[in-house]
């Protein structure tokens, strides 16, 4: 692989967990539920995925376990905010703290373990395209999954009837309820979907990306995913762009740090760069108030209590 191909390859790998997590959150937020617990759900997904893969030997069972862990976490959150009408922001923050702490506790015995690297899936013909072929089509299965997820979500939100209902609930649960849609149940499903995707994103980190478990290995990616959804003005394509931008800068700064070039930039600043660059770029592209107004779920973060 030449240098360009390997940078592109690494960019896509680094962006993938963000895409999965952010698209899951996008669905939850489109229904009007703001779950700030992505970081915690990813951490739980990461440790569940790692542990199950280690014991079973199957990374696929690991991903499933990660998904289940994320879904359970978001289900707890959904009970608190949708049934018990808790404050979404506070509950989400608590979920993050819980997930990060609990995963560290569960993960203590696993810190010295290493998983086998999962081999990539090479798609014939497409992978033979010069430069980009190896980068795009000789990838981990979850990379292909993230693309399918993107396509599926675009279709779901803008082409399917359930997607239309979901957007309607996110705009006004009261109106949706008054014409007969079960707004609470729809919000439950969207929230749990968001949690499941966060769990998959977490397990990608511990099973595929760096096949080991370290406390705090999610490293703020959950937060970036949440920010990504907002600054992408709740549009899936912009989430995709933002995630790869993050991945790209991440790889570039690692490349600079590892190149041994004599530059006087603190490594901490370089490590912070992907987060900074992603936010700055997304803030700039989301300045248009009109797109925000047309895409933001109006009821985001507001509890909904149907009349008896």
């Amino acid at each position: 692989m030449d240098i360009l191909t390997s940078i592109l390859f690494a960019t896509i790998v680094a962006g993938t967990p963000l895409i999965i997590v952010a698209l899951g959150q996008l669905i939850a937020e489109k229904s009007g539920v703001l779950n700030l617990g992505a970081e915690g759900m990813m951490a739980m997904g990461a440790i569940a995925g790692f542990a199950v893969t280690l014991h079973s030997g199957s990374p696929w069972l690991g991903v499933l376990a990660g998904m289940a862990a994320g879904a359970v976490m978001s289900f707890i959150f959904a009970i608190v905010v949708l049934t018990l009408m808790g404050n979404q922001v506070a509950s989400g923050l608590a979920l993050s703290i819980l997930g990060v702490g609990l995963s560290a506790f569960i993960g203590k015995p696993y810190e010295a373990e290493i998983l086998q690297t999962v081999s990539a899936i090479r798609i014939p013909l497409l992978a033979d395209i010069p430069i980009i072929g190896e980068a795009l089509f000789n990838q981990q299965a979850l990379v292909y999954f993230s693309w399918a997820l993107f396509g599926g979500i675009v279709w779901f939100l803008y082409r399917s009837r359930p997607g239309l209902v979901l957007r309607a609930v996110g705009e006004s649960p009261h109106s949706a309820h008054s014409i007969g849609y079960p707004a609470i149940r729809i919000r439950y499903m969207a929230t749990i979907f968001g949690g499941a995707m966060a769990g998959i994103g977490g397990s990608f980190l511990s099973v595929f990306y760096t096949p080991l478990w370290v406390e705090g290995m999610v490293a703020g990616r959950g937060w970036i995913a949440i920010a990504l959804v907002v600054f992408a003005t709740w549009r899936p394509f912009r989430v995709l762009v933002g995630a790869y931008l993050f991945g790209g800068v991440m790889v570039a700064q690692l490349f600079v740090q590892g190149s041994g070039l004599e530059i006087n930039i603190p490594s901490q600043f370089l490590s912070a760069l992907p987060y900074l660059a992603t936010i700055v770029v997304l803030v700039i592209i989301s300045r248009d108030q009109n797109t925000v107004r047309l895409n933001a779920p109006v009821s985001l973060g507001q509890p909904f209590r149907p009349e008896a």
Binding site: R161, A168, A176, I179, G180, L294, E307
Partner: protein, 519 residues
């Protein structure tokens, strides 16, 4: 299901002994109501009389605590709105249940069962809109529609389900007189085709013109049935409020004093992409007169209000002159200190802070009237002031320490009016003084405005209710598409002329603006 003959099931809907109790209030008590096939049946009552609750139970949004409902002779228990729709009951809500970020077709599709093909549905929408004279473009986003157009979307959405009972909750509050007439034509056409209509309103003249039968509710109970065509608006009003309706005394202005508000070529581009730009507005309001501004909502009223209150500043300070002082660049607080009072349209959120007590809300605009001492709040004075607002203006509430959002709309409006009036403004700007307020309270508020005028205050009233403007104004002007018509003395004009002006056609020399004609 509907194999029964007409003779057996004369009534499409029968309610018997419906009771609904909320924790703090009995919304409906032993209400019975019968609606015939093809009948336009009015449900009349003040705010809080329980009309909306009753309709919600018919439509399955709320469940009755006691009583039964028969639909075409069969006992039914409406589980939810979808069930109601499948029975053939449609409802057009007072506060629209449309989704602003979706387009018309998507909004309609959401209310239909199954998974309709959107392109085909657009065709059906056009067909229904042509048949009933309800023009609307299926592809437009709802937030870009005028209120009248939104209502049409709601009606079309109901009609596509071929309803046999259509519930209309206060449908005309936002329409021009011409649009009201078109709506009535549509409703009569529907009734002729056999659809029953439940028509909720507090506008007595409309009920008289349109409805076959009326049921009157007061405090959750049925106080009587009547045939509107055999009653006078006055007799129906007394059924509704339980006493004679006071009519505001409106004498001619005695003497006009100095100019208190002057707008000089006020122009402002709206920041809101869906807002209206104000163009060269000229207006003068003198001490001792009430000037009314009519217009269909969304024609620049909001922008004008912001420019008057100071929520948005205008570049040219001379464009807004309040009590002789160029105020275009002054903030709201400064304008109030100059003698202007202001009652905004939104009671909760602009007129009052919903979760704050009435005392605290009184402080918000009264603080420069000696209620602060060395920067400290004089709570005793504020409480007294709030109590005075409550007493003088008959505000029904639990006391001055209760939160603003615990009051009904009409009572909160009375409180806010009281607060502004007791501050003795030299110039008062009022938007929609009686919007959503019951007739009794509305008459009271109008009388207060007239009294205030008689004491020499200059008053500007911006309202969408023409009857109201004709009741209290001395002069009247029309706002359409961000332009203001010249004003006319009340004696020199009539509702029809103002109605025509509301579509922007007061100046035949200029081409009529096209965007505002919603007739």
């Amino acid at each position: 299901m509907t194999s029964a003959t007409d003779g057996e099931h004369e009534y499409r809907l029968e309610l018997e002994g419906i009771t609904k109790i909320y924790p703090s209030v009995i919304a409906n008590e032993n209400v019975s109501l019968k609606v015939k096939k093809g009948e336009i049946h009015a449900v009349l009552g003040e705010n809080g009389a329980g009309k909306s609750t009753l309709m919600k139970m018919i439509y399955g949004v709320a469940k009755p605590d006691a009583g039964q409902m028969k639909w075409e002779g069969q006992l039914v228990n409406v589980e939810n709105p979808a069930h109601a729709r499948s029975l053939g009951i449609g409802m057009v809500f007072q506060h629209f249940s449309l989704f602003e970020t979706l387009n018309v077709v998507e909004n309609v599709a959401l209310a239909l069962p199954g998974n309709p093909d959107l392109r085909q549905l657009a065709g059906q929408i056009t067909e229904v809109s042509n048949r009933y004279g309800l023009p609307v473009d299926p592809q437009r986003l709802v937030h870009a529609l005028s209120v009248g157009e939104r209502q049409r979307v709601e009606i079309i959405r109901c009609l596509l389900l071929n309803p046999r009972l259509l519930i209309m909750d206060e449908p005309t509050s936002v329409l021009t007189p011409q649009a009201v007439r078109k709506l009535f034509d549509t409703l009569r056409q529907l009734a002729d085709e056999g659809c029953s209509i439940l028509y909720i309103s507090h506008k007595l003249d409309e009920i008289q013109e349109l409805c076959h039968v009326a049921t009157v509710l007061r405090d959750g109970k049925v106080t009587g049935d009547c045939i509107p065509s055999e009653e006078t608006p006055k007799s129906m009003a007394s059924l509704m409020i339980g006493k004679e309706l006071p009519v505001p005394e409106h004498n001619a202005p005695t003497s006009l004093g100095d100019v208190r508000l002057q707008l000089n070529r006020l122009s402002k581009k709206s920041d809101d992409p869906f807002g209206t730009d104000l163009q060269d507005i000229e207006l003068e309001v003198r001490s001792g007169e009430i000037v009314g501004i009519a217009g269909v909502s969304g024609n620049g009223q909001q922008e004008l209000l912001y420019a008057l209150s100071g929520e948005e500043l205008v570049d040219d300070a001379q464009a807004v002159v309040i009590c002789g002082k160029a105020s275009g660049r002054d903030l709201p607080d400064q304008r109030r200190r100059n003698g202007m009072g202001f009652v905004p349209e939104e009671r909760l959120g602009r007129g009052a802070v919903p979760r704050m007590s009435l005392t605290e809300n009184a402080l918000l605009t009264a603080h420069h009237k000696g209620m602060l001492k060395n920067g400290m709040i004089q709570f005793r004075l504020i409480s007294e002031f709030a109590r005075k607002c409550i007493d003088n203006f008959n505000v029904k509430c639990g006391g001055e320490e209760h939160a603003a959002n615990s009051l009904s709309g009409g009572n909160l409006q009375k409180f806010i009016m009281g607060r502004e009036i007791l501050l003795a403004p030299r110039m008062l700007v009022v938007a929609q003084p009686t919007w959503g307020v019951d007739v009794g309270a509305a008459a009271f508020i109008r009388q207060e405005l007239i009294d205030l005028r008689n004491e020499g205050t200059a008053i500007l009233v911006i309202s969408e209710e023409l009857e109201e403007l004709f009741e209290i104004s001395d002069r009247i002007a029309v706002i359409a598409n961000g332009r203001l018509s010249p004003s006319k003395k009340l004696a020199d004009t009539n509702i029809d002329e103002i109605g025509v002006w509301m579509s922007g056609m007061w100046d035949q020399a200029q081409p009529a603006p096209e965007a505002t004609t919603n007739a």
